[in-house]
Subunit: 416 residues, 2 copies
């Protein structure tokens, strides 16, 4: 019997000490974020009611790398480096000559990639003297991550969860409360934004856009309270690049270079976190993988949305961002992949897509579920609904390789 290695591990002292910023390496800079009143580019002061200056600086930095603070690395060490798995048993079931690797972020406190940015966000806010963070959450991963991160820095945490997920996933709520946060179903009657929606749609299942409006409203009205976003923004994607940086080291350990990199996309942070460090290598001519985003057919912002300036939230309280969007008042079907039910796509990923540096497709829920079941039965990990979108595309690619005989190296990310 051949002994096969399943997990490619790194030591704790191999955790990257810098986050990677893809912006300066792009052939053209991303369009500015605009003030909704003046339609002029926003400055740091416009964002100050919501974010600490350290994060605003990261949002607009043109440095290629940002140092990870020691306090953040200390907490990363609870679960990082995360394992890179070779999916031997899935490959065998598919009869494919392709080699499938998945970076597994399920070892984190939330079971997803979200704590990679929740921890630094809580850290910088605590440093700035903030007492409380508000946020929205879909399926609950981001709320869980921020609740955990706030507990590390003695910050209060208040979460508005999209009602569809609040009702479907009570265990997430319990987990968020276990970490010490408070949680409300959204739309709620606690905010102007929530009350306005409820007046018109008393049975609203909610949306990430609505929940963002509620969380932003509370943060904007309280000087000791800031807002934290789990995806979409540049600084969030910056923090997530720790995933791709580790994956690069891990693939190098086994002498592999990826041919296809596949990630699911809602707001875009899981995808960007995995793909950006590889995009750097691609832009430098060191490798040439296809980079593929997979989104739900029920919420296809990248593949079916317009590339236009739009609000990040439903009530229109945020600055205007140029992004692929279905419209800030779009309320997607309450599919199970709650983390992908966002009307827009990260402006940075939208820009990279427009530059032709990556591809995108959409997948229906049923096909993703089938892929998730096949993955669970072979690899032993029951994936969250979100990454099954990427798994479905990875399985497609591996099956094509079974037909063509190509020994492609496929890399994907298993987030929660």
């Amino acid at each position: 019997m051949t002994v096969k290695q399943h997990k490619i591990m790194l030591d704790e002292d191999e955790i990257p000490t810098r986050w990677y910023n893809v912006v300066p390496d792009l052939p053209a800079p991303p369009p500015p974020v605009l003030h909704p009143g003046t339609l002029e580019p926003v400055g740091p002061d416009d964002l100050a009611p919501l974010f600490p200056m350290a994060l605003i600086a990261q949002e607009v930095t043109t440095d290629s790398y940002v140092e990870i603070p020691g306090e953040v690395l200390d907490i990363y060490r609870l679960w990082r480096p995360s394992p890179l798995y070779r999916a031997h048993r899935l490959e065998q079931a598919l009869g494919t000559p392709a080699r499938i690797y998945y970076k597994y972020e399920g070892v984190s406190p939330a079971g997803s990639h979200k704590p990679n940015t929740a921890v630094p966000q809580a850290f910088y806010n605590a440093q700035a003297g903030i007492r409380r963070l508000t946020t929205e959450t879909g399926a609950g991963q981001w709320g869980t991550a921020l609740a955990f991160a706030c507990a590390q820095f003695a910050l209060e945490c208040e979460v508005w969860q999209v009602r569809a997920s609040y009702d479907q996933k009570p265990y997430r709520r319990m987990m968020i409360e276990t970490f010490g946060a408070t949680i409300h179903p959204s739309p709620s009657d606690l905010t102007e934004a929530g009350r306005a929606i409820l007046a018109e749609h008393p049975d609203s299942t909610g949306s990430l856009g609505i929940a963002i409006s509620e969380a932003v409203e509370v943060a904007a009205q309280n000087a000791d309270t800031n807002y934290a976003l789990g995806s979409v923004l540049n600084h969030v994607l910056l923090h997530q690049t720790v995933i791709g940086e580790e994956a690069l080291l891990q693939l190098a350990k086994v002498g592999e270079t990826p041919d296809v990199i596949i990630g699911c996309t809602g707001g875009g942070s899981n995808f960007g976190g995995l793909a950006f460090p590889f995009l750097r290598e691609k832009l430098a001519g060191k490798m040439s993988p296809q980079i593929l985003a997979v989104e739900p057919a029920a919420c296809p912002s990248l593949t079916r949305g317009q590339y236009a300036y739009d609000f990040g939230d439903t009530a229109g309280m945020t600055p205007l961002m140029k992004m692929h969007t279905l419209g800030h008042d779009f309320v997607p079907d309450p599919i199970h992949a709650g983390g992908l039910r966002y009307h827009g796509m990260s402006p940075l990923i939208s820009h990279i897509y427009e530059l032709g540096l990556m591809d995108a497709i959409s997948k229906p829920q049923s096909e993703c579920f089938a892929a998730g079941v096949q993955f669970a039965r072979t690899e032993g990990i029951v994936p969250a609904p979100e990454p099954t979108h990427a798994l479905a595309a990875a399985i497609d690619e591996a099956k094509r390789c079974a037909d063509t005989g190509e020994e492609k190296v496929i890399l994907t990310a298993l987030c929660g």
Copy 2:
């Protein structure tokens, strides 16, 4: 800032290749299992309707070690070796000079230690030509583990879940079904045993003893069907010793010797799996840790039960085992630690307890929940209700060390 290592890892080629059998090292052999009709010791033929001969041989072996088959090691590699964590952040919160380590089995397909034995049980049954396995499950970890294991060897799997847990934990049911098994709430109307209970107690919340009766009944009546038990029996504890063997290697890597080993106990397999390899070292005079079992106050078989011959199931279909028992018709409160709601204790652990080689205490649910919340907020892992019993005792010990200044090394196991 001091860089502290949180995770002590082993390479995949350091997975132990042998399970350890504690029996030959004990100062006295355990009492025999008796046939309920003749009250004579049971022979292999008495167990053959339920178990394949390979497992029956392991149940009674006097060899010190049993080789782990290559096919089983191949599947173990999906998650093993599991990490050993140093609980730096919990220690800090407790202000203790004690060093707390936890062996984390949550990385397995079921999120617990259970697949360590589910996989070999499915393997030996498949080798013997069995087509289907039946079993019981409490909180659902064992059912999940066996469902996963059966999927690896193309066996059908049918699970009876204690109704209290079936109703409390729908996500476990979904996970069991994702792995391809069928699941029924117990007591069910599918068996004589279940129908008899329902006739008397239509609202029965069930018990592991009842669910075992149902699963055993179906296995005994069908030649192509065997039964698999997730704890209690010698061969189950044997398979779990892979936990303690790895922990020994991991502690040695950081130059530590445990002073206290604490495990939660329901049927006893998590506890035995962790403790037995250390008990071997203790009996050989190489270390002298206290070995402490912690059980729920609501189901205190070891601390409050009788040491007597009793049935393993409620209906009285199994052989008689000498064990600490609350009586085979005892139905514990539907506490959340469903995996610890068993009327008896592993005969092997009961025997070791009688020999004075270990200690036992019980803990109320509320204290365990508080310990679990403190652990989650510091270490970032939300523990299952079962191991919070061990965590509560570990926290007690660490607090004592804070008072006395003792730098004890505490080892516990985080199972799901």
